[in-house]
């Protein structure tokens, strides 16, 4: 079926009441969770994933896309009102958002953030629709050696850029791969590291690990640190001034440029919202006629940061859908949700479940439109969500963690796994080990092992097979670059 017809079919599929309702619920939940300081979009998607188990793939995945889009936007609300970013992606937003609030322009800042987020999201959805199917066609030609190179590159780049120290990211990535080894060997069926337990034959379930690392660990962190009772609560009334169309038009070029930056940054695995937002912000400042106003409450700064961070939503979906490589923590969680629905992200997804993929493209587009409508109608109420104290949030989230892990297989083993990974996640966070490489290692570990063993079996143990394939050799070269570049850069900076 030609591309345009497939896309049209995707939009026809998405305009069902159930899909629209699912996206709306997703966006509402995403904004609410994102607006709570400290709770990330990743956590929102992780908590909502178990809810999608009993839904059809179209509805379930679109609900999570709504959460993703809403969650990234929601982070800007406390950044603007309280100077506390709801999600890491919103750190750049507070640079100008909070000064606008101090000047009594909180409403304008919030509406500018909303408009820019929606534009950024739509730009990224359009890029996703056009780039992803073409990339999937190329990826279809990959053999085991190419897949080995690709997955190794995916893990290494995410591990090397996540966190403050590269070695810690790499250790976490290897730890994730080691977790993926537990259970039955996929070739011979022999148990590995199960220590005689039949419960562990299936290995570590992805969803309890995700919930443990990204949600339970956050609750443990909140309970271990002094909970301030509403000290930063936003008490002022948000003014009713909607941002005028003229003002929106004035910043349209900035928004489009930032949207494109965000989308392409999002496509590169291991980057994500915070990097995109800061890059777009500095570019907006460079191109601005009034760069001196940046940092003092310039709406343009808010527009650039928000357009870029929401544009990463579509960007990060490109490598995830086409290559099966999750580019960041949120897409790693989404991979888990896909797998629960029986969908394996990668080029074959376009062949086997093409209709679902195009419905998903349309879903991302529609999610941004719904975000705009919900944002305009309910912005003042979402702002109140930022005031919910963490002593109330924490028990509710922990209860959802228990329920979410239990409903994967109605098994208490999964709940135990979630709690254990929550404790591991807490200490990882304390000692600055990033969480995303662990999950990505767990997801990609089986693919790395499978492709490595297949390739070496074909070549009778000759490792040169990986250099004989040009694509694999390029990926391995990029892997070396991704590991060595931060070291070289650090040395150069030290010398300076």
């Amino acid at each position: 079926m030609p591309f345009v017809e497939q896309l049209a079919q995707g939009f026809v599929d998405i305009f069902h009441l159930s899909n629209i309702l699912a996206i709306t619920i997703g966006v509402l939940t995403g904004i609410s969770v994102g607006a709570l300081p400290g709770l990330t979009a990743t956590m929102a998607v992780a908590i909502m994933t178990p809810i999608t188990f009993s839904l059809s793939p179209d509805i379930g995945i679109n609900l999570l896309l709504g959460v993703f889009v809403g969650g990234i936007y929601g982070g800007s609300i406390p950044a603007i009102l309280l100077r506390t970013p709801g999600t890491p992606s919103a750190i750049a937003t507070l640079l100008d958002g909070y000064p606008m609030t101090q000047k009594g322009q909180a409403g304008q800042a919030l509406y500018m953030a909303l408009f820019a987020s929606v534009c950024g999201g739509i730009i990224s959805a359009l890029v996703l629709m056009t780039v992803a199917p073409q990339l999937a066609k190329v990826a279809l030609k990959f053999g085991p050696a190419e897949y080995f190179g690709l997955t190794i590159f995916g893990i290494s780049i995410i591990s090397s850029v996540a966190g403050k120290r590269m070695v810690k990211g790499l250790i976490t990535g290897i730890f994730g791969i080691l977790l993926s080894i537990v259970g039955m060997d996929w070739v011979t069926g022999v148990p590995r590291f199960t220590f005689g337990s039949t419960d562990m034959l299936g290995g570590f379930s992805l969803i309890p690990v995700l919930i443990g690392v990204f949600a339970a660990s956050e609750v443990f962190h909140q309970t271990q640190h002094t909970i301030v009772k509403g000290a930063t609560a936003f008490r002022a009334q948000i003014d009713k001034t909607y941002i005028r169309f003229r003002e929106m038009k004035q910043y349209l070029v900035t928004i489009i440029r930032s949207g494109l930056i965000g989308t392409f940054i999002g496509i590169v695995p291991g980057t994500g919202g915070p990097i995109a937002a800061f890059l777009a912000y500095s570019e907006a400042k460079r191109f601005s006629k009034h760069p001196e106003k940046f940092g003092k409450g310039a709406p343009e700064g808010v527009a650039a940061a928000e357009s870029a961070n929401n544009a990463t939503t579509g960007g990060t979906l490109v490598p995830m859908l086409t290559l099966g490589i999750p580019g960041d923590a949120v897409t790693a969680v989404l991979v888990g949700a896909f797998m629960i629905q029986g969908l394996q992200p990668g080029p074959l997804l376009f062949v086997q479940h093409g209709r679902t993929v195009f419905a998903l493209f349309a879903g991302l587009f529609v999610a941004n439109i719904i975000l705009f409508i919900i944002g305009v109608l309910g912005l003042r109420y979402f702002a109140k969500a930022a005031n919910v104290p963490s002593r109330i949030q924490a028990p509710i989230i922990l209860l959802l963690c228990f329920v979410g892990s239990y409903t994967v297989a109605n098994s208490m083993v999964d709940v135990g796994m979630m709690l254990a990974m929550g404790v591991v996640g807490y200490f990882m966070r304390k000692y600055e080990f990033p969480g995303a490489p662990l999950v990505i290692g767990l997801i990609l570990g089986p693919i790395v092992e499978k492709s490595l063993r297949q390739s070496l079996t074909t070549s009778h143990g000759d490792w040169m097979i990986f250099l004989q394939s040009p694509i694999c050799a390029i990926f391995l070269f990029l892997t070396c670059v991704s590991i060595l570049w931060p070291i070289i850069k650090q040395r150069r900076e030290r010398r300076k």
Binding site: I174, T188, K229, P395, I396, V403, E449, L452
Partner: protein, 163 residues
Amino acid sequence: MIKKEEYYISILLCVFGLFVFFWSNNIPLMVAVEKGSVVNARFFPKLMGSTMVFLSFIMAFENFLQQRSRVSEEFGKDDAEKEEGEKWGRWAVLGLICIIYYFLFQPLGFLLSSFLFILALLIFLGTRKWYALLFLSALVPFCIYILFNTILGAYLPEGLLYF
């Protein structure tokens, strides 16, 4: 910030990597299947175990370099200024609440056990108003139960309350 704990973590990771490497020898080999294959079920765990050992050395070496590049008194100050220590008392209470909930989840059922769980956590985290405690402890599990059991058709244990 360089902490002494960083060295202990490197040692722990090294021991973990060595454990994976040597324990891999206990993985049974299926000669019939793996006869023609160069790489068997032990190969990948050994490779990853040794990579972990290598990375733990790198981490320890990096710590050493960072330590050396600083003035020795500054290093001491870092240790003294380290962030507030682990609140083991809070961990113990939280752990106890989670473990009790874990074991009561199925026998008591979701609604009853979750009511007690939320109540205990709210009190632990500082909520003192009795009406807020009762309202939240009853409402939150009830809403989640309706969402999962009734709307989504997922099973949550009924335990003592059959309906």
